[in-house]
């Protein structure tokens, strides 16, 4: 979207009572949020071409939408973090808390990326090496099997 079009869009929205606006098409995704004392605009390209976009501070990370046809063929360089046990996958320590890790995040070796619970035994799964989260394969609170991939990551 051209800047002038974006400006026009922002103007149209700010003239209304709309507080949140989201638009997505094949090339880009636009999120505009208006709060009581601040306004911010987040503009993100779809994940598969994001590498060329300078990464803005994660103000409003795109929700983990249905996996958009990812460039599978070119993925051979990626590695996975797998589940060491059968159980339930949690992306955050409690329902109100923030996610341990989101797509695009760079995590250090030893940093917790998720929890797996089986029978009230909570296992903090850590990244074994510094990496960037490319894809989160499972939904929050999804049941998972032993050895199932949880994250697709790029070793850094």
């Amino acid at each position: 979207m051209e800047i002038k079009d974006l400006k026009a869009l922002v103007k149209i929205i700010t003239d209304t009572d709309i507080t949140e606006f989201e638009m997505e098409n094949a090339e880009e995704k636009i999120v505009i949020k208006r709060g009581p004392d601040k306004e911010y605009i987040h503009l993100a390209a779809p994940t598969n071409i994001m590498s060329s976009t300078p990464q803005a501070p994660a103000v409003a990370t795109a929700p983990a939408a249905a996996p958009v046809a990812a460039p599978v063929a070119a993925d051979d360089n990626y590695e996975t973090i797998i589940s060491p046990m059968v159980g339930t996958f949690y992306r955050k320590p409690s329902p109100e808390a923030d996610y341990f890790a989101s797509v695009g995040d760079v995590v250090e070796a030893g940093q917790t990326v998720c929890l797996v619970e089986a029978m009230k035994m909570f296992n903090e799964i850590e990244a074994e090496f510094k990496c960037k989260i490319i894809e989160i394969i499972k939904d929050d609170a999804a049941p998972i099997e032993f050895g199932e991939p949880l994250f697709k990551v790029e070793r850094l």
Binding site: M85, V86, T88, S94, M119, M121, F122, E128
Partner: protein
């Protein structure tokens, strides 16, 4: 293992000869210090709440121990082979599980027990709070380092559940039961909560922390009004308080015995013991699995310890995480 402190040695000697006098001379030999130093240690024990009688020419006699949880009192004469090799007691901490995990990360040895009189951030499942007032209950976490793969570690959930249930039955005549996977119930109300955490690599366990919270002498006014599940305590069920120290010691002995059995014989004996303590088998249950609620009849456990529920459609569901309620 660290060497025992003079206070631990004195209490250990008292526990070996209950109700009898220990002469100042004997204590000074055992401790390798002067009689004046012995007297100082006795004074510090008195300050900590121990009632110690001193009779000239006979020596010292322990009349009563305080119901405070101190390492030397918990460990004296406990005779565990692995559990309670070290005990750390906090007057207050955020959460004994957090403390034990930190100590586990720092490389502390298997068997470490962390006990707190009070927790400011007692943890339940899913970030819920475990109400932890001072002076009345037991909040403890046990650090274990079993050489097992991570997928076998959830079996230890059943181990601590059986241990708590047995400790209650041993210290009182109350018929505590278990609810999958590790709630402990008295007359249908929750008396203990257990939460376990593990640090592992793909193929091996670094450590497991077994977190145990038992409502011992907590009175009705200390329970919040908005509990998710009906709760009770031993004092409410018994009508009289229980010794926190005696309960803690019994619990640690039970965990030690079961853990030895687990290491030697695998998880079948623990699962069998758990099944015997469960009275919901064959009953109707509703299981809240976060994303869905499964209703049906509890069939039992599968070999992993997952809960088996037969739904109305006749399908058997294997449940690995969820909140069970009888219906």
């Amino acid at each position: 293992m660290t060497s025992p402190t003079p206070r631990e040695i004195i209490l250990d000697l008292f526990s070996q000869a209950p109700d009898s006098f220990l002469s100042g001379g004997r204590l000074s030999t055992e401790l390798g210090v002067s009689r004046t130093a012995v007297w100082k240690h006795i004074s510090s024990l008195r300050e900590a709440g121990y009632e110690i009688e001193a009779v000239p020419s006979r020596g010292y006699r322990l009349l009563q121990s305080p119901d405070t949880l101190r390492p030397e009192a918990i460990q004296a004469g406990l005779n565990c082979s692995r559990v309670a090799s070290q005990v750390r007691c906090f007057d207050q901490t955020d959460s004994t599980n957090l403390q034990a995990c930190r100590l586990g990360d720092a490389g502390e040895a298997e068997g470490l027990v962390v006990v707190a009189d009070q927790q400011s951030a007692g943890k339940g499942r899913m970030g819920r709070q475990w109400i932890s007032p001072p002076g009345v209950n037991l909040y403890a976490s046990i650090l274990l380092r079993p050489s097992i793969p991570p997928f076998d570690a959830p079996q230890l959930t059943f181990l601590s559940a059986v241990a708590v249930c047995r400790a209650i039955r041993h210290c009182t005549d109350l018929q505590a039961t278990v609810k999958w996977p590790n709630d402990i119930l008295l007359n249908g109300a929750k008396v203990a909560g257990l939460l376990n955490e593990m640090s592992s690599e793909t193929d091996r366990v670094n450590y497991v922390v077994l977190g145990v919270g038992v409502n011992l002498n907590m009175t009705a006014d200390l329970f919040p009004a908005d509990l998710r599940y009906p709760a009770t305590s031993l004092v409410l069920e018994l009508g009289k308080p229980v010794s926190r120290l005696a309960f803690t010691r019994e619990l640690l002995r039970q965990v030690d015995t079961l853990y030895q059995d687990f290491l030697a014989n695998g998880h079948e004996p623990v699962m069998a013991a758990w099944s015997e303590l469960c009275d919901l088998t064959g009953k109707s249950v509703s299981v809240d699995c976060n994303s869905q609620i499964i209703q049906g009849t509890m069939v039992g456990l599968n070999e992993d310890g997952a809960l088996l529920v037969r739904t109305a459609a006749g399908k058997i569901e294997n449940i690995y995480a969820g909140d069970v309620r009888p219906v």
